[in-house]
Symmetry: C2
Subunit: 320 residues, 2 copies
């Protein structure tokens, strides 16, 4: 159960290890959207993505729990090809413990190097979910490492919630947001945003954006069961995961709607942010803005908060 | 004669029309450089570049001078294919006057559109300096417009000086900068930085960066005469211009050194900023950082301030 206190405690816990990212606005984008948008650029966050928040909170809380039991924290482990890998590697280094990261051998070399750069050990596996999970089990058996799941973990969700909390504190006080928005993959950030908004800005609704080519959350949201996407084909490679029972529960309780966008719409929104805001965001990150631009009827005249989730792109493979 | 008062008045004059850009630091880049670098991201400035400062100051001062003579400001004109064009267009709109911008017909369509987007009239000419100057003369004769030169103008230089002034105010108080850095093209920004640093942080030296493929300023700096580059071949297309007598004078008086870098060094520094800072900068803008990375002996352990001059790049033509 994540309460307002849980989120506040998470924020106090992680504050020394994360950036309080600023709030950005852009006149051209507001004119184009017909809305009043406040962006929270978590691409400027440690490790280049909001995932630093959840990873650090989970590892620090684990360390505190172990200490209370008279033990020091042991190694931690996760499997990820993306930002969560770097987040856990970064977090482990802060508490002086070892991190094992199981990564598909096909993951870009630059991502493996980034993880190693934070002092973690990369264990390569075949690029299937099964191989990843087997890899994790083997290392856990061998080392006693504790698994930190990318999103199916209340400590991680409470950490991600601090991004929405900061946005509400910094730009939603005099006039509350009408709408808060995040993209949805596994649902960790969206769950955290939904909970933080519920507690801190109860008149604000939460709307998620999802790629058409990974449209599992919208189906799960409608049916009430965790479902797979009918097909996977999208540039938004940070949003391919399905929800968990836990995140689906939070989302069904506190999110108003999930809207989908196509890859051309995502790329156009991403390009607009690069060109007009001069900041580098990942395709996954452009999904909420793409939703706003696609549905002027839903967002006209509204005050909208959007988390820009991350900026870890391969500059050698841009869609422009 | 630009005094401390001139710069202070310019700052007060332009403040309502420009952003006070933040100061950014990056651990990875500091480790790589072995120095303590404070970046001032003028890519987040109005029109995406520091040139908004000089353009606005010149146009507002012109308007004030005309008013003192009992006249309202007439049209203004400049020739530019780059950021100064947008700066004058933006500035003219703030005072409600017309701007004519003479641009080579070969300039990217997106730049012409940006200038028109600020309400200015684009006059196309052949892509030679002679055609540009003839174009300006014709429009001036026809419309009575006042020319605002991109850098050979004390009002413009005083405006550009405010970028260095802000950087010194925001990050150079407790411990003064050892070195302030800017790229050099026509020398407007560098002159402004040199003057602001001279008045506000007199123990700080100023070092400029210049592309090897447009190495005119270093020659002029050494000889004391305005010289042309031996050849022009660089990706840093904002730095092709030669100095004027005016800017050479300021630079010879207040700049300690000019150091050159190759295009591969510029591109590597640009990529480092994109990847690690998640912000979009132009090639011209990466020149000072490339200088720092090339000369670890000169910069080791130093506190360095760098103006990131702008972020107007063509995403369809990236050097990665």
């Amino acid at each position: 159960m994540i309460t307002l206190d849980t989120i506040q405690e998470a924020h106090d816990r992680i504050r020394p290890y994360i950036h309080r990212t600023p709030v950005l606005t852009n006149q051209t984008i507001n004119q184009r959207a017909g809305a009043d948008i406040y962006f929270k650029p978590e691409n400027f966050q440690k490790i280049g993505a909001f995932k630093a928040r959840g990873g650090v909170n989970a590892v620090l809380q684990l360390a505190a729990d172990e200490l209370q039991n008279g033990r020091s924290i042991g190694p931690v482990i996760t499997h990820s090809s993306g930002n969560h890998a770097q987040a856990i590697a970064y977090a482990a280094r802060q508490v002086g413990t070892k991190a094992y990261i199981v990564m598909p051998r096909t993951a870009p070399q630059v991502k493996k190097e980034a993880v190693r750069g934070y002092g973690a050990e990369v264990i390569e596996c075949e690029p299937t979910l099964e191989a990843r999970e087997t890899g994790v089990q083997e290392v856990m058996a061998r080392t006693g490492a504790t698994l930190i799941h990318p999103f199916d973990d209340d400590r991680v969700i409470a950490g991600q919630a601090t991004a929405a909390k900061e946005l509400i504190e910094d730009a939603g006080q005099d006039k509350p947001f009408d709408i808060m928005m995040a993209p949805v993959g596994g649902g960790g950030l969206l769950s955290g945003m939904a909970l933080a908004t519920h507690y801190l800005s109860p008149t604000t609704i939460v709307i998620a954006g999802e790629p058409e080519g990974a449209a599992d959350a919208i189906q799960s949201f409608q049916s009430g069961r965790v479902e797979k996407a009918p097909y996977i084909n999208t540039i938004a490679d940070g949003l391919l995961t399905t929800l968990s029972e836990r995140t689906l529960g939070y989302i069904r309780q506190h999110v108003t709607d999930i809207l989908t966008v196509s890859d051309p719409e995502i790329i156009a929104a991403m390009r607009l942010v690069w060109e007009r805001m001069k900041i580098i965001i990942e395709p996954s990150c452009a999904v909420p803005l793409a939703v706003v631009l696609k549905h002027p009827d839903r967002f006209a005249g509204k005050k909208v908060g959007i988390i820009l989730t991350g900026g870890n792109v391969d500059l050698g493979k841009l869609p422009f």
